[in-house]
Symmetry: C2
Subunit: 481 residues, 2 copies
């Protein structure tokens, strides 16, 4: 190995080239900083190669397949489809590679120095970078830690490439499993459940959580209905005891209501959270503040407890979502460049690409009540939406939570087709401190899913047009205690 003799100086060094890292790098370069981005794998990180992108592609394909019966109703005759996983994975590779090349090209166009290597923080604002052949020492003015996280898998689980998967390797699978058992209750578990179900797998979802999926009560209820209808079996309130993987099957031993329960399947996905990638990168001497699980604590500028060292994305506290990483990356870069820039996670949208998608932002009814609000909620079932009828997507509902005293919106929740696209109008409204009248006043295209949002809000005053008078969904709730 060639060890460099001089210390190279950089304005900003970013460790990790996932969404948080590369967005930070490009934004910093746009603002005139000299940026070095260190990535030991591929640009785009886990999100691009193993997480967000593959899972959304599977969800997309699953949607196409689950629409088959509806297509026949529409007069599209084409026999039963055969799903060719090898072709799907080929297309996925092309898509992922294309996106990776796109990020590479953007970094190049922004004159970002990209180093394929492993970085170690050292004292004196230094970072050592090993590329395999060389070890060079760099000095930074500012640094951003964007190393992400890795799946946390209970000790009793031994991952394997052909039968027992984590969230980061399930989408590399080579065949549709005969019977996929999923242990977990997060959005990753849910997306995998409905995607593989539509691809033809039998799916059993074994929830680790105490009760449900963690959405607003009404969303949970509708989700359970949708899962039941699509024959995804859900076993709730389980805790994992052990896993036995054999040649052709996997057995999960769990405790449910104090009783031992055995769940057998052909394959297993364990999705039980993440742990931050903070080891082996030399951060220990900085004694950066972390939470109990080691996630880095950052402030509204995405700066850690050590001035000049920022952290963005899954390595930080909060939800493991690319949307968080991207925003933090931009804010950190802007702050490094001397701009006034901050973020607040209060209205981060959470999006789940289940066969009937879910998206929400702000407070659920229960959360709002727990925070001391007197709330009014309104709700509209998408079965009453004309466009949903046309599209053959009548599952789902919209629910809106407002502060009864001020009429300010507190939370917007949707399960149903178009939820992902429409959540942005909810987030915009929440961020702009919208009152109910701000949502009631505008026009909503007809026919469109969008009208469901309006009718959810109208139902608060008993004036949703497509709900009969005795079924208007108004509900009031008082703060607890």
């Amino acid at each position: 190995m060639v060890v460099g003799e001089v210390i190279q100086e950089r304005e900003l060094i970013i460790v990790g080239g996932g969404p948080g890292g590369y967005n930070a790098a490009i934004r910093a370069a746009q603002l005139g900083l000299e940026v070095t981005l260190v990535e030991k794998g591929e640009l785009g990180g886990v999100c691009l190669s193993k997480g967000c992108i593959p899972s959304k592609l599977f969800a997309h394909t699953a949607e196409k397949l689950s629409d088959w019966k509806h297509m026949q109703q529409l007069g599209i005759e084409a026999g039963e489809p055969n799903f060719n996983m090898a072709q799907h994975q080929k297309y996925m590779d092309q898509t992922v590679t294309g996106l990776q090349k796109g990020v590479q090209a953007l970094c190049k166009a922004n004159k970002i120095e990209v180093i394929n290597g492993s970085a170690s923080f050292m004292t004196g604002n230094r970072i050592g970078i090993e590329t395999g052949d060389t070890f060079e020492m760099y000095k930074y003015e500012k640094a951003i830690v964007a190393t992400g996280a890795k799946p946390f898998v209970p000790e009793s689980v031994e991952l394997s490439t052909d039968r027992v998967y984590s969230a980061q390797d399930i989408y590399a699978i080579e065949d549709v499993p005969e019977h996929l058992v999923i242990y977990g209750s997060d959005y990753i578990a849910l997306e995998a459940a409905t995607s593989f179900n539509a691809l033809g797998a039998k799916v059993t979802l074994v929830l680790d959580a105490e009760s449900d999926f963690g959405f607003d009560t009404e969303i949970n209820k509708e989700l359970n209905r949708v899962l039941k209808k699509s024959k995804v079996k859900v076993i709730k309130e389980c805790s994992l005891e052990s896993v036995e993987a054999e040649k052709n099957n996997v057995t999960l031993h769990v405790l449910k209501d104090g009783e031992k329960l055995t769940v057998e399947g052909s394959h297993l996905l364990v999705s039980t959270g993440f742990r931050p990638n903070t080891k082996d990168i030399g951060l220990e001497p900085f004694k950066l503040e972390t939470d109990e699980e080691g996630f880095l604590v950052v402030n509204e500028n995405s700066e850690t407890s050590t001035k000049g060292i920022y952290a963005v994305g899954d390595v930080t506290i909060g939800q493991s979502l690319a949307v968080k990483a991207i925003k933090q990356g931009k804010v950190a870069a802007e702050h490094c460049a001397g701009q006034i820039s901050e973020l607040n996670l209060r209205y981060i949208p959470t999006v789940v690409h289940t066969s009937t998608p879910i998206a929400y932002a702000g407070l659920s009814e229960d959360e709002a009540v727990a925070e001391g609000f007197e709330v009014t909620t309104g709700q509209f079932s998408m079965s009453g939406n004309g466009f949903a009828g046309i599209k053959g997507k009548k599952e789902g509902l919209v629910k809106i939570v407002k502060d009864s005293k001020t009429d300010l919106l507190l939370g917007v929740h949707m399960i149903g087709q178009g939820a992902v696209e429409m959540i942005s109008s909810g987030v915009t409204a929440l961020e702009m401190a919208a009152r109910d009248e701000d949502i009631l006043y505008p026009f909503y295209p007809h026919p469109s899913f969008n009208e469901g949002w309006l009718e959810a809000l109208e139902s608060m005053t008993g004036t949703a047009i497509h709900i009969p008078p005795n079924k208007q969904q108004k509900k009031d709730a008082q703060p607890v205690g």
Copy 2:
């Protein structure tokens, strides 16, 4: 015929049961009014039986068919599809009937008196209603005209049920035309063009307009590119001379650049606007204010020039869009019930369900400049959006127009998948008088089409992440003169 002897008194009589009429009826009933709704055809009107709903269903089916090649990329193997129009029309009938029954049930649940008959306004706040068997006289306190409009077809065109269609009968067609010629340039012409094209027809679109489709310049440009790619032939700047319909074909004679041009096809759709249904309903004595074409002029409460007579929907001035009718219907009903309620058409969303959908609200760049604004525009091509890549929908762009001086948004424009769902965030922002920072600050789910909106705005300051530095789409324009 039995002629009633007593004059029956009603608080509100609504003539016409389309979206404007039935939304008005239900809202008025919700507010405690005694409502009579007169409809000579089916509840839901033309929108439900011949317009919005059928056209959106055709667009939906067309989208499924045009996705076929993409589905093969995804590994979904199913041979070439056959399109069975009879089955499609059967499904459409079921869908339309289901929605009509829904409206009937809602009227019943809201205790609205629905009369299937023809209404004639008379002096002294009276309306005569003929049902075929009976003629009854009613006296109203308030009345709403919601009689809609019918297609305007040039004198030289003779409609026929099997070859020459208007906007209101094209979707009852029994077979996919071999070669559909469309004369017109409105959203109806456009939707029919891309829908029938995807269903397998050869399509020639002969534009009546001087130049283009009337969208923002960049949307027009992308739309032309998309049409060209999908092999829809567009002939611009034509004026109709005559039409010859024979047994198996239709010949259109037009003038283009002063030269005679002949366009032949198997079928013809003429979509050249509408004229209001104001004849034969006894409105003449009221001398209601109209525009040159006879559309009723209404104020912000949707009230005509005669106090107590309101008008809503296609019978009124402005665009022929159900979204307008619905809002006007609600506002008129609320005003009749003594509420303070008004509307402003400035930020009405226009939505076109072309194979690559279009949606916009507010001012185009040219309109803003013409109104005297100093504008900055930002633009993002959906080819740079990761989610669009996954979905196989890389066509399109987002363009945002803002006032350079105040940073207030003036217009939002999109062509691309998800445009219809996402336009609501634009409309909400426009109605709430959002500045650019209000759109830049929120989180946008990743990966999602929504990110395109953010990047369009970021491009105004050269900070769109997925546009190389030398291609950021910022553009400034000064007011004219």
